[in-house]
């Protein structure tokens, strides 16, 4: 599956899952600010992408740096090519990407 096919598959999955406008699904689209997704959506996005691509993303530390659709695409491509969990790529920064909780989620 080449890069373009993977990108289109991610777009298809997210458009369907989150009722998003396909016209806004550009590589630089910010998942929160542009597409309006939140922490609950991030949980479901991981489920959808794991099922779609047969990869493990949930415990992937690099997911914390994902901000844009392009970042997400790059992460999926990388996990597909090299497998999950490459600590050398994870700089340990707290992020607002997948898996973080930035919207005041209550218990």
């Amino acid at each position: 599956m080449d890069e373009r096919v993977v990108f289109d598959a991610i777009v298809d999955a997210l458009v369907e899952e989150f009722e998003l406008d396909r016209a806004r699904m550009t590589s630089d689209a910010h998942l929160i600010e542009t597409l309006g997704l939140d922490s609950l959506d991030f949980v479901d996005m991981v489920v959808v992408l794991q099922n779609r691509f047969g990869v493990s993303i949930r415990d992937e530390p690099r997911a914390r740096q994902v901000r844009t659709l392009g970042d997400l695409h790059a992460l999926v491509m990388d996990i597909r090519a090299n497998g999950p969990g490459r600590p050398a790529d994870f700089d340990g920064r707290a992020g607002d990407g997948l898996g973080s909780q930035t919207d005041g989620r209550r218990e």
Partner: protein, 417 residues
């Protein structure tokens, strides 16, 4: 409530209603179906496919998408909450409430269901038990499973800033919800309450009644012949689904914004028939009715119509009928709308209250559908078997539930209506 002097209570009025019923979406569909004497009961293939389940009938509300509602709110809603949202939308529009009214800390929600979403529960355990994994469980599952899913989702979807209460009393849930909302306003704790109940169809619900030998086994060749409240040949409940929502408001608040007043809520009481979880009891029914009349400051003779709970079970209808007779003898007309609608469970008292308000407005009493041969075991009440015209100032709505719960509402026609 009788401890609070009537003169100290805020007057409580109904300013909006909304319905999703087996007749379809909207109060208009509900009222048209009832006024025409139609049955909403159909053969349900999903039930027919369940081994050992003897009831194959249901009253289903049709497709429910709520695309008008933002995805952020829809994603945490099961079918029951979607139906409640659709009904609440109609009721809020009907009442003319603005987002500013709803955002007030003096506006609240009091609505519930029999249980959290059974459809969502099944989906969760189907996934979990097959995979022994939670990897495919969506983040929104819990918000559909939790017991207060209905009130929480309504409060979020409509931006309601005040108290969020979720009574759960099985088939008496919406009578309880309307009653608690009434008490909150009467005690000056709130100005506006969105209240009622909802339930979604699932085979488990029908199975619960079938296991107790209380679900109808009427032939699929004649689905509209069941249920048969108060009839000598009744054979049990037909489960349905839907949502009924009422907007309760203090009369003063309604007057300030020139809101339409559809009815008054003048009394509510609830008690428990302590002897059995599964069987109702005529004495407790009568006690609860008397307590509601006491709160309302009314005598039995003031009630012009009783909307019964009667679901078509052998024991339940008989106990209810005897309880009603103990208070009213044969002087007050009685009917049940379950013969048209089936048992909409947590939605039933709200939908039937909405219908009762319309009967008051029209000056008509709709009969019990399928009541052909009266069971003398149900007491010698004045059971309405054909549409009847009547001047109705006050209606008593009776409701009861597995668990021994009784809940009774007293509604009145608007004083200037």
């Amino acid at each position: 409530m009788s401890e609070l002097m009537r003169s100290d209570r805020a007057e409580v009025v109904v300013t909006g209603v909304g319905a999703v019923s087996p007749f379809g979406t909207g109060t208009g569909a509900l009222i048209d179906g009832l006024a025409a004497g139609r049955s909403a009961i159909r053969v349900c293939e999903e039930l027919a496919a369940v081994r050992g389940l003897r009831c194959c009938l249901a009253g289903l509300a049709g497709e429910m998408r709520c695309e008008w509602l933002d995805r952020r709110f829809r994603r945490t809603m099961s079918r029951m909450s979607l139906m409640a949202a659709e009904a609440a939308r109609e009721a809020i529009h009907h009442a003319g409430l603005s987002p500013q009214h709803l955002r007030s800390p003096r506006s609240g929600v009091c609505a519930g269901s029999t249980v959290g979403s059974t459809i969502a529960n099944e989906a969760f355990f189907r996934q979990y038990l097959q995979s022994q994994s939670i990897e495919n469980i969506r983040s929104t599952a819990f918000f559909m499973l939790m017991s207060h899913t209905v009130s929480a989702n309504l409060a979020q979807a409509f931006g309601v800033g005040g108290r969020t209460i979720c009574p759960t009393a099985a088939c008496a849930t919406s009578a309880m919800a309307i009653g608690l909302a009434y008490e909150a306003i009467a005690r000056h704790q709130a100005d506006v309450m969105i209240c009622g109940g909802t339930d979604e169809h699932h085979p488990l619900t029908t199975a619960v009644f079938d296991l107790l030998d209380a679900a109808s086994t009427q032939s699929p060749a004649c689905p509209d012949g069941a249920p048969r409240p108060f009839d000598a040949n009744r054979d049990g409940v037909v489960c349905s689904e839907g949502a009924g929502i009422l907007i309760l408001e203090s009369a003063a608040h309604a007057r300030r914004r020139n809101a339409p007043v559809l009815a008054e809520v003048v009394g509510f009481a609830t008690n428990n028939a302590c002897g059995s979880l599964s069987h109702s009891d005529s004495r407790a029914t009568a006690d609860c009715i008397r307590a509601a009349l006491d709160v309302a400051g009314l005598a039995p003779g003031d009630i012009a119509y009783i909307n019964a709970h009667a679901t078509g079970t052998l024991q339940g209808d008989a106990q209810e009928g005897q309880g009603i007779f103990a208070v009213f003898a044969d002087r007050t007309p009685v009917s049940s709308l379950k013969g048209h609608l089936g048992h909409t469970l947590a939605a039933s008292a709200a939908l039937e209250s909405i219908a009762s308000i319309e009967m008051m407005r029209r000056g008509v009493i709709w009969p019990t559908r399928n009541l052909e041969t009266l069971d003398p075991g149900c007491g010698r009440c004045d059971y309405v078997r054909r549409e009847r015209h009547a001047e109705i100032q006050f209606v008593l709505k009776n409701s009861s539930a597995l668990g021994g719960t009784n809940a009774v509402l007293v509604l009145g026609r608007p004083r200037n209506g």
